[in-house]
Each structure stands twice: as C-alpha cells, then as structure tokens.
C-alpha cells in the first residue's frame, strides 16, 4: 500500500526519528560549544595556512579578507550584500510556501485516493528524476527576468517533490493496528485523518521541511545566476566574480550559507514547538 511512496524519495529515505525510548536529555550550552569551537578553529587555521602556503587571494581569500569584504559591502555600494540576501531569502520563502502548499495538497490527494496514487506517483517519480534546475532559464523567460516570481517558482519546484513524497508516506504509513483500533470505535474516515493520519505525518513533514529550506535557497540562487534583479545573492556572486572581486563573491557565499543555516534553525525551532514529542522520541530534545 505504501511501497510506491517509499520509492519516491530521491536519495536517502527521509524518515523521522526511530522509536527508541526517549532519553530525556535537555541540551545545555555545553553541547553547542564543541561544534562552535571546531568552526572557529577551522577559520583560524584557514587564515594562517592560506598565508603560509602562499595561496593567492583571488583563488581563496583569507577569512579575514572575506569578513572585511562583508563589512565594506554590507548595506551600501555596488555590491551591497545584506539587501541582496533579504531579496533572495524572500524569493526562497515564497517558493517554499508555494512548493510546500502544493506538495501537501497533492500528498492528501494521493493518500486519500488509491487511484490517484496509481497514476500520480509514477509521473512524480519520473518528474523527480529530471534535473529540474535545467528549467531555470525557461522560468525566467516565462515570468520575466526581473520578476521575483520566476525565482520563487524555481525554488517551489525543487521543494514540491520531497514534501509531497514524505507527507504522502506519513499519511499512508500508519500502524495497521491503529486503524483497527479506530475502526473498533466506528470512527469516520475524516476522524481517522484528523486524529491519526495527520499527527502521524507531522514528523515526516518537518523532516522534509528541514531538507527543502536548503533546496529553496539553491533554487532561488541558481535561477538568479541566469539573470534577474541585481539586488540578489545570485547576481552579486556572478557579477563580483566577473569583476574579479573574489573576496566579495566569497562574502556572498558565506552570507548564503548563514542564511541557509538560520532558515534551517528556524524550522527546527518551529518543529520543537509543534511536535515536541517527536524530538523527545529521537532523544534530542
């Protein structure tokens, strides 16, 4: 019944946490310190190793140069980065919204109607195998180079499939005994959806969401590479690189990375608020 949905996930299966018993461990500052220390150490090592090896800054600038470029081009000048990041984030967010909404809608349809599953899933699998990013220039043509919607739609297309596949699986892969239990209460199909299928699908939904936040940024930035408003991270990267201002290029990349991480952390925070029990089950509350 659920095999079709299972084969949909692109690379690795996106599963919510296992069902081991919870270790009720609260994370303390001490848990976050080691990764932060490693990151800082890596930056420092890069700073000195690059200098010691005599690698020229147009290949890889030193972290200090990148930070300098970020400071100099933060909100003003030809390559102002902060407004560009905001613009790209807005496109990504819009794309995330559209892609997620469409993915959830189609997931409900495929979970509800087995017949829909039989013809939608093969199409979805085939479509998912297409390197969708190749459509970016076309989307720019269709919706206008300067229209942020063309970028948002690129993001939306990337977001759609993981959300659809995972939510479908979450709605369908319900313990058979849970369905028997609900039937023994003479519960209606709608009650089963509300009280069993939807809560069961929530961890799958958030697992997908954590993956597609990154996808949405990738979609927006790559679409920008093919042209668009200059106030966007993609254009800043392309243009600073062709002007040989590599420290600005790297600054833009770093900003994109930070945006992606913040985006991800926001989703994690929402997940903990909405489904605290799932995090507890995984043992990482």
């Amino acid at each position: 019944m659920s095999a079709g949905a299972g084969s949909l996930a692109t690379s690795r299966p996106l599963r919510p946490g296992g069902t081991g018993r919870a270790r009720a461990v609260r994370r303390s500052a001490g848990d976050y310190l080691p990764p932060i220390a490693v990151f800082v150490l890596a930056v420092v090592v890069f700073e000195y190793v690059l200098g010691a090896l005599g690698i020229r800054s147009f290949l890889i600038p030193k972290p200090s140069q990148i930070i300098g470029a970020l400071q100099d081009n933060w909100s003003s000048g030809r390559f102002s980065l902060f407004p560009a990041a905001i613009a790209t984030l807005q496109e990504a967010l819009l794309g995330l919204l559209i892609g997620t909404a469409a993915g959830v809608l189609v997931a409900f349809a495929t979970a509800r109607w087995a017949s829909a599953r039989s013809f939608l899933l093969p199409v979805a699998v085939a479509a998912n195998a297409v390197p969708i990013i190749a459509f970016a220039p076309l989307l720019n043509n269709w919706f206008g180079l300067l229209n942020p919607v063309s970028k948002a739609l690129m993001a939306a297309v990337l977001v759609f499939f993981p959300v659809m596949a995972n939510v479908t699986r979450g709605l369908v892969q319900v313990e058979p005994a849970a369905l028997e239990l609900m039937r023994s209460y003479a519960a209606s199909e709608w009650t089963i959806v509300r009280k069993v299928r939807v809560p069961n699908a929530l961890p799958y939904f958030f697992t997908a969401l954590k993956v597609v936040t990154t996808f949405s940024l990738i979609g927006a930035i790559v679409a920008e590479y093919f042209g668009g408003s200059n106030t966007s991270l993609g254009r800043r990267i392309v243009e600073s690189a062709s002007a040989f201002k590599y420290e600005i290029t790297w600054g833009a990349i770093a900003l994109a990375a930070v945006t992606g991480i913040v985006f991800y952390l926001v989703v994690v925070a929402i997940e903990r608020l909405v489904i605290p029990w799932a995090a507890a089950l995984r043992g990482d509350s």
């Binding site: 081991g20 919870a22 005994a177 239990l181 023994s184 209460y185 003479a186 809560p199 507890a280 089950l281």
Partner: protein, 286 residues
C-alpha cells in the same frame, strides 16, 4: 435454543467459517464450523497453535474481519451493529498508543470520538488510569513508560467508554514472564471490579488457565474448536492458585487437548520460538 434464556449470551457464534480466496479459488480455510456462546461476565480464552485462526476469530467477533459463513450475534444484534454501537473495547499485542498524546489524552481518545463532554472525559480518564494504577502518570507520554505500563494504558483506554465486551489479542505476548504474571493479576482484578466480559487470545497455557472461566482450545488449520475446558478454580485467584493441584491438572488437560488437535507439534514449537524471539527483541528495545 428455542426458549429465550433470561441471560442471553453476550456473544453467539453460530457455524462461523472463514476462508481466504484468490479469485474463485479457496486458498486457505482459516476457520470452520465455530459454535460458541459467551455469557455476560465470562472470561473466555482462545488458545491454539499459530495459524489456527484465533486472532481471526477475535476480529470476526469485533467486526474487523467479515466471516465467510455463519452468524455472529453480539448483545442480540449483528456484529456490525454492535461495532457501530461501540460495544467493543480492543487491546492488541502492541499497545498502539499515540506518541503525540499524553497518557491521559490517549485514554480520552475513544471518549472524544464518542462525543463525550470535556468534564466526562477528564473524569473517566482519571478513573480508568487509577484503576490500572497509573494515576501518577496522566501527563506522561507513552514513550516514557515501560512495556507493561503502556499495555495498562491500552487497557484503561479500552475500558474508558464502558464497552460491554473486551477483546484482547495476545495483550501480554510481548512482555517478559514476570511482567506477564503481574499483568495477569491486574487484568483479573480489573475484570472482577468492572464485571465486563472478556474474550482473550493467548498461546500461553498457564495464562489461559489462570485467567479464564472457560478455555476454548482450537486445532491447527483449519481452525476448529476441539475442546472447551471449564476452569473451576476458586476466585479470587492469586499466586497460590498457580501452585494448586487443580491448576496443574487443568494445565495438563488443556495441553493434552492441544496435542490431540495437533497443537503441540512443530507448529507450536515454532510459535514458542517466535514468541521467545519477540520477547528478546522487546527486551532489547526497552
């Protein structure tokens, strides 16, 4: 049969059969010619080798599976009607608790579906959880409890809406021997306190004898009732019961009935091994 008895059976199975077919071809005859009356307040165990259809029979009584032939009457009405009237409480081998709900909210689930008001739900959930001695765990989540405690929550949930019959499908099959014996004591106490009728599927002979008023012994496929053993052990039953002579005699009687029905051969051995494996697996997870 013709005169209407003052105590009409809660469950009446008349010539019930179940076959599984592929196309027009009958592939398996799971159950054949099952006749059984269960009186109000009885504790009936179904015991038999794996594949004898005892769980299928339980589901036929609960209208989760349709019989291929015969009639199932529950409280004087067809099984479908009884299910719609919420006459059944179900307990499965797995507790089937929802992790997103607290213990208390899990017990309230059937009450929500039945449209009971909030005050009633609160009161009943508390009462039931106190009955299974989990009154201190209302706000816990299922994954914070042990396997035995989870199964007690499942029992509390099954009893919450006062169903007239409790259907239990190997509810303690996944528990270790010590926990299982303690749960046996619990379920007897609950049964005596609530006066509910219980239909209990198990493959443990001692468990069946200790709990039941009658043990229904079934044969290997096709599943038939080969013997009904009346358990005349005095109540209340306790640890002394397990050491009494009569208890051992009855265990032997059930075992011999099982052997005659082909229950204690390779199939049973496999079943025992599988059960042991489950216990081990459960232990590893818990």
């Amino acid at each position: 049969m013709t005169q209407a008895p003052p105590t009409e059976p809660v469950v009446r199975l008349a010539n019930v059969g179940k076959t599984f077919s592929r196309g027009d071809q009958v592939v398996t005859t799971a159950l054949e010619a099952i006749d059984l009356d269960i009186a109000r307040g009885e504790f009936i165990s179904l015991i038999g080798p794996s594949g004898c259809g005892k769980s299928t029979l339980l589901r036929i009584v609960g209208d989760l599976i349709e019989p291929s032939s015969g009639d199932v009457t529950v409280n004087g009405k067809p099984a479908r009607r009884a299910r719609m009237d919420r006459d059944y409480g179900m307990v499965f081998q797995a507790p089937v608790l929802f992790d997103w709900r607290t213990v208390e909210d899990n017990v309230k689930l059937p009450l929500e579906i039945l449209g009971k008001d909030a005050a009633t739900r609160d009161r009943r959930a508390k009462e039931m959880l106190e009955l299974v001695e989990l009154g201190d765990f209302l706000k816990h989540h299922p994954y914070q409890l042990s396997g035995g405690m989870q199964q007690r929550v499942a029992i509390a949930r099954a009893l919450a809406f006062e169903p007239s019959i409790l259907l239990m499908d190997e509810p303690f099959g996944a528990l270790d021997e010590m926990t299982r014996e303690r749960m046996n004591g619990e379920v007897l106490r609950i049964w005596e306190q609530t006066g509910t009728t219980i239909l209990f599927v198990t493959h443990s002979i001692p468990e069946a004898v200790f709990l039941s008023s009658r043990v229904v012994v079934m044969s290997a496929r096709p599943g038939r009732i080969t013997k009904v053993v009346d358990v005349d052990l005095p109540r209340p039953r306790n640890e002394d019961t397990r050491e009494s002579r009569r208890y051992f005699e009855l265990v032997t009687e059930v075992r011999e009935a099982l052997r005659r029905g082909g229950g204690l051969d390779d199939a049973a051995e496999l079943e025992a091994a599988a059960s042991e494996e489950r216990t081990i697996a459960e232990g590893a997870v818990g």
